[in-house]
């Protein structure tokens, strides 16, 4: 640290956009679950890429670590400034919310990093198009955040994840230089896919300041259904049957009996009369989707199902109310894990979880939901005593690893899961990732402590 003062930041972004008062900084120092709290010398709120560039260059000059923060909706501590050692600033993109007009010919939309998913979706819809990424935190999660974690959400089965939507990117390198690829072209095989590499890099390679996203055609007619099934793997048979019938799968969400009971208790209208082990929310598009979907379900021998014309809000409500209901119902902050399981192991893994919960010496309720077509489950443990949470999370992830699943489907590694990196990636892989990190950020000042287990912390 040489000559670090917050005054320099004030000259760049305006003194009132440099927060040093603990009361004003508080919201930027903890994640939204309140599990993690860090500390920072300042929170800096630039408005433009040029300001970000100048701030990051100043940080480079004075040896300051930079923790970039978007909507702060992350669940793995990736945007919490827990940095030991030298000075650290939180670089908030809260003021970088510009959303350009959608280009309906090139089918793209340019946004600043702080634009929310909801604002991008609204712009896309206003132009008669659709933003392919949708997730529960849409009102807070930002463009920069979903790219930095390559977030998924409910339409990955249809359009791929965030990485697949990134046509162009603008990012500030660790030394303040601005990297910009900004072309709507769908095919542009000119050198390394740096936008794709930044997607999922969790703020450790560069500070994303803008994104040029693809938008997609709105689906024509859609239908939704809630279907009762007894084993999770029936989902994949259903998906294939639906596709064979000429329909397009737009979303496939798995819910458990426990989760549905909880949201119904909280006031949501039940969709099914029966008590199947699982309920699956399907959304499809295509010609005559309601009739065709109903016909497929009848042919497939599904006993308990309800089909409705899209967008079918009451059916979606069952799924969407899970997060808030879980938070309200749990006597402690819920333990939330985001994992992927091989398709053939989904049922066995769900049984693993039941067994684990049954063996715990303290109260714990399990609610699982998720993007079943991707094998992506959100595992929620309610009522777990706070002092037991880290250990039970570890035990869940141990079972994921034993089944060769992913310890992070779409939330990233952040700080919470960095101990797992060298468990699920081999030595050459981790060494290669470190070499890539070194190439982009030789001084290790961008989001130190995130991703790699023994980075300066």
């Amino acid at each position: 640290m040489t000559g670090f003062t917050t005054d320099a930041f004030g000259r760049i972004v305006g003194a009132n956009q440099v927060l040093t008062d603990p009361d004003l900084m508080r919201g930027y120092l903890a994640d939204w679950t309140g599990r993690r709290t860090g500390a920072a010398d300042a929170v800096v709120r630039p408005r433009t890429t040029a300001e970000v560039s100048a701030v990051v260059a100043e940080c480079a000059r004075t040896g300051v670590a930079v923790v970039v923060q978007g909507g702060n909706t992350g669940l793995v501590g990736g945007s919490v400034p827990e940095v030991a050692g030298g000075p650290v600033v939180v670089l908030s993109t809260a003021r970088m919310t510009d959303v350009e007009a959608v280009d309906p010919v090139e089918m793209c939309v340019g946004v600043q990093a702080g634009a929310t998913v909801a604002s991008i979706a609204a712009a896309a819809a206003a132009a008669g198009t659709r933003f392919a990424i949708d997730l529960a935190s849409r009102d807070s999660a930002t463009a920069g955040g979903i790219v930095a974690t390559s977030a998924g959400g409910i339409h990955v089965v249809r359009h791929g994840g965030t990485r697949a939507q990134v046509l162009g990117i603008e990012a500030v390198r660790a030394d303040g230089r601005v990297l910009r690829r900004w072309s709507p072209l769908r095919k542009d095989n000119v050198g390394y896919d740096l936008p794709g590499l930044l997607a999922g890099s969790e703020g450790t390679l560069a500070v994303i300041t803008g994104v040029l996203f693809a938008v997609v055609d709105q689906p024509g007619h859609t239908a939704a259904a809630v279907v009762g099934i007894d084993t999770a793997d029936e989902v994949f048979t259903l998906i294939r049957q639906i596709r064979r019938a000429g329909l397009v799968i737009e979303a496939v969400e798995l819910m458990t009996r426990a989760g549905v009971a909880l949201v119904v208790e909280a006031g949501a209208r039940p969709a099914l009369a029966g008590s199947s082990g699982y309920q699956v929310l399907l959304e499809v598009s295509g010609a005559d989707p309601v009739q065709r979907l109903a016909a497929v379900l009848a042919d497939s021998g599904v006993a308990d199902a309800v089909v409705d014309e899209g967008p079918a809000r009451p059916l979606w409500e069952l799924r969407e109310r899970h997060t808030e209901t879980i938070a309200a119902a749990s006597t402690t902050v819920p333990v939330k894990l985001d994992v992927t399981i091989r398709r053939r192991d989904l049922d066995a893994f769900l049984a693993d979880l039941d067994e684990l919960i049954a063996s715990l010496p303290y109260p714990c309720r399990l609610v699982v939901f998720g993007h079943a077509a991707d094998g992506n489950l959100h595992v929620n443990l309610l009522d777990v005593p706070v002092e037991q949470q880290a250990e039970v999370a570890h035990r869940v992830l141990e079972r994921v690893v034993a089944r060769e699943g992913s310890v992070s489907a779409e939330h990233g590694i952040g700080r919470d899961k960095r101990e797992w990196l060298s468990v699920v990636r081999d030595e050459v892989d981790v060494a290669t990732m470190r070499a890539v990190k070194q190439a982009w950020d030789p001084d290790g000042r961008l989001n130190p402590g995130v991703l790699f287990p023994d980075a300066p912390d």
Copy 2:
């Protein structure tokens, strides 16, 4: 160079798999068009990843450059060993052709780098699934090659390019270490997307030895049509109308009057009676696709169209015979360029080309075809005197750049287009790519001279 002998390679792969005889090496030293020829100290043909690892480690020890070669179907000189200075070996994946059984539950197939696209497609089809990548060179192009160039082909509009099909990868680093991520999981946000970075890296970061590809569900019923249109941008209106009708676009191929005339002259059956400026081959899937597609076309006011049930080989033949017909018809090796143009500029660019051709002081016929939905055009110039070819290629690419298009849609940069890298990517971008290259291959021994303009050559 210290102690380099080809004997060491013989001990690894067997002496008969180390070619040094000029006659035996010839096919490995030139590209298939015959435009480019290089030289090498040996061609080494390993069978396994362990052998590749040992060969590359030996090259590292003795300072030998490694040019990896798959089907050698590239069009930009990326696999031709034009390396000045120290010793160089061509590492051929010709014997690494294993294709594992398709996993129909996890929907993936593991292959060695030398497996051809056709062999992967056959394995996928045998399991009732589909390999999403299909391109004209399917019988020769290899897994390693299509990943190294992130090749596209005819179904990108439906499934994305090669990068989107890569679930896992195995690659040998410049020092011989083996990097392996090999999981069928669709979501696995654990660290940097190294497989995605290797896709499109053109052999400059590591030697790809194996790929775990996704396979997709076969489309249900399909239909194809050839449609006459007068301006290329009508394609995008058609695509939207087709999607609104609940059909899925599987392929959209543009042909010009000149190209169609050429293949018809060569014996292909014409599809349309009229003489529209362009003919578009459409493939769709969905419910009752023939009737629905015909209805959309009738509604859209298309005057000249023929619709057939999929797979509609006679219609596809019109498009597929372009490459061979062009090669046979041209009095010199055809100039072949692969570019992407913004959707709104397609017609203007096609007019640019006509103007350019008309201005040439030598005979030149123009045939353009390509993957219209992606804005990807394959520009073929016939009859151009060999000594004029580099210059006219340059002039075409100048017009691409003037329209903010891509000088390489899906063929890569190779050696042919490296001068364009710093034209279409800015200084920070190129510097970042160089830093990434340095991180993976500090001695610059993997495919030197490819991608970067002033690499050792």
